[in-house]
């Protein structure tokens, strides 16, 4: 099958292998090893890992457009947040009459605002299938419209980065308004259960962690299949010499649009998996700073490798967890220092270390003695 083609590559086998091993290990250490044992992984940590994995999926989505298409999106947080809101709306509807105000249909914040009925765009979100579909379609639709306008007008480079940043900023301001019907600055929270499972139970948390791992694996495979296809090579060609690619007869803007929409959908999926694990979605996810941070993860991990994005997202967020626990004020300095150090010593990111070793091995096996020198 087309999606299974990446399994021919060593790096994909390795990545999926490590991911599955990590998922199994965490599950075993959580379930089998008794609480109190030093190796026991508690529910809080499982939840934390689940959060990292959803960030990793988001980073993969950003690397797909930045690394392979050369589009530096500084607004991918918007797609992540919209996916998150779609999930949040479903979770809000699942609360039912258990909210503070006990209204069987309206979420608490709407009762508080004295709204009479659900706005039209909340309809259908009580059904899981519809909400999960919207997790993909809503960010995809936004990316489609935005990308269509941007790529058709051949907006590229730093100008595109700036308008993606403006996009997420505008959405943040909009979502802060109570009139929008998304809970204003408080966002959506106080979730109870998902698909009938109690969100506060350890089993559900483990399930969400595993689901996020599966989504990351599937998203990674999809991206690998894309970048490994001829379309992926057209993307790289576009990244490096757009005019030349157009001259070869490829409608560059359509390729950009396709990949941008796929990436936005993956970001939306990541957001949807993130929200039930952290228990809240609010407009701060739209903040331009967050979108820039995602790009930092990818840069630190190594651009245009996909697995580098995963490494970067997990490393930076782990460091963030540690630092904000130990000395919260120093976190931004630590992030800055990490960025400077990696830029100076590892220009291709952490993944550059692997790629360098792989390449050396390949070069050794490639260079056959007695090769004709034509230049």
């Amino acid at each position: 099958m087309w999606l299974m083609q990446p399994f021919n590559e060593r790096s994909t086998q390795l990545f999926i292998g490590v991911l599955l091993a990590a998922m199994t290990l965490v599950t075993l250490l959580h379930v089998v090893v008794p609480a109190g044992h030093p190796l026991h992984v508690n529910a809080y940590t499982v939840n934390l890992f689940g959060k990292y994995l959803s960030y990793a999926l988001l980073a993969v989505a950003v690397d797909l457009v930045w690394g392979y298409l050369g589009i530096l999106s500084l607004g991918h947080g918007a797609f992540f947040a919209i996916g998150g809101y779609a999930m949040g709306m479903y979770l809000m509807r699942q609360i039912g009459d258990r909210g503070t105000y006990g209204d069987p249909v309206l979420p608490d914040f709407m009762v508080f605002l004295s709204w009479e009925s659900l706005p039209w765009y909340w309809l259908g979100f009580d059904m899981a299938w519809f909400a999960f579909l919207m997790v993909l379609l809503a960010p995809g639709a936004l990316a489609l419209v935005f990308g269509f306008l941007a790529f058709r007008s051949r907006v590229t480079g730093v100008y595109l980065s700036i308008i993606t940043q403006a996009l997420t900023f505008a959405l943040m301001l909009a979502f802060y308004r109570n009139e929008m019907g998304f809970g204003g600055s408080d966002g959506l929270t106080d979730f109870r259960d998902i698909l009938g499972f109690n969100l506060r139970s350890n089993e559900t948390r483990l399930g969400l962690f595993l689901a996020t791992g599966v989504a990351l694996g599937a998203g990674y495979l999809l991206c690998r299949a894309i970048v490994g296809s001829k379309l992926g090579r057209v993307c790289v060609a576009t990244r490096d010499a757009e005019a030349r690619t157009r001259f070869l007869g490829y409608r560059v803007e359509r390729f950009q649009l396709f990949v941008f929409v796929v990436s936005a959908m993956l970001a939306g999926l990541a957001g949807a998996l993130y929200v039930p694990q952290v228990g809240i979605i609010n407009p701060s996810e739209f903040s331009p700073i967050f979108s820039i941070e995602i790009v930092l993860w990818v840069a630190l991990g190594g651009r245009a490798t996909l697995y580098g994005a995963v490494i970067g997202a997990i490393l930076v967020n782990y460091a963030k967890t540690v630092f904000t626990g130990v000395m919260p004020d120093a976190w931004l300095f630590a992030l800055g220092a990490m960025f400077v150090l990696v830029t100076v010593f590892l220009p291709k990111g952490v993944a550059g270390l692997f790629a360098y070793r792989l390449k050396r091995r390949r070069d050794h096996s490639d260079a056959t003695p007695g090769q004709e020198v034509t230049s």
Binding site: K230, L231, R233, V234, A237, A241, D366, Q371, E372, S375
Partner: protein, 277 residues
Amino acid sequence: MSLIKSLSQRDRVFDFMAPAESPVDVRHGPILYMEDVTVSFDGFKAINDLNLTVDDGELRCIIGPNGAGKTTMMDIITGKTRPDQGKVWFGARHNLLTMNEPDIAALGIGRKFQKPTVFEALSVFENLELAMTADKRVLPTLFARLEGPARERIDEVLEMTGLAEQRRRPAGVLSHGQKQWLEIGMLLMQRPRLLLVDEPVAGMTEQEMERTAELLTGLAGKQSVVVVEHDMGFVRSIARKVTVLHQGSVLAEGSMDQVQNDPRVIEVYLGESEEAA
């Protein structure tokens, strides 16, 4: 607009009615026919009453001092620049002045620009793969698989351009000369009827020039090739027929020897360049 246009395009309704072979009509000999072409930019006549005929399968060299209108001539043929007056025909059927750039390219006119632009991050093989004639829409490209004949065509072009050894290497590590050959190879992947090659040997070593000469003379016969070049030694080594442009029109035409002995040519061009060399 484009929708209306495509709907009203009745000749493409039945795909099987479209001619399978390249529809260029060369029964009368010439593949490229330019008559009385004039272009002026702000009053300056870059091309002035130019008449040029290139036969099918011919290898033609165009020489001329700077500002003679060589590049403008290429621009007119590829549809980039519209002449003020004149006729430009491709074969006996296609009036190039009524067609746009992509259509002209699709018709089989390939152009190699002076500065080689290959996709440096992709391998030599992949560069050729992308240049290949294929369905270039998004989804067919996503699911495209390299079939036998396509693979053979790439191998063939790799042989022709002498890049077979380099097939797996990223194009970015190629030497300047190899990049030029790869670029020519990328044009060949589209099986053009007419190749326009702009200064192929600029910046090449002697050895590379020889290889380029072999490559271009090897192409002639199967394709028609028009080479614009400054390097006299190189032109002498490949050309059977040379056209000298001067101030936008043809000053002389003929074999290298004839042209070289033409006093007008010596005056405007060869004299200077021989001195310089």
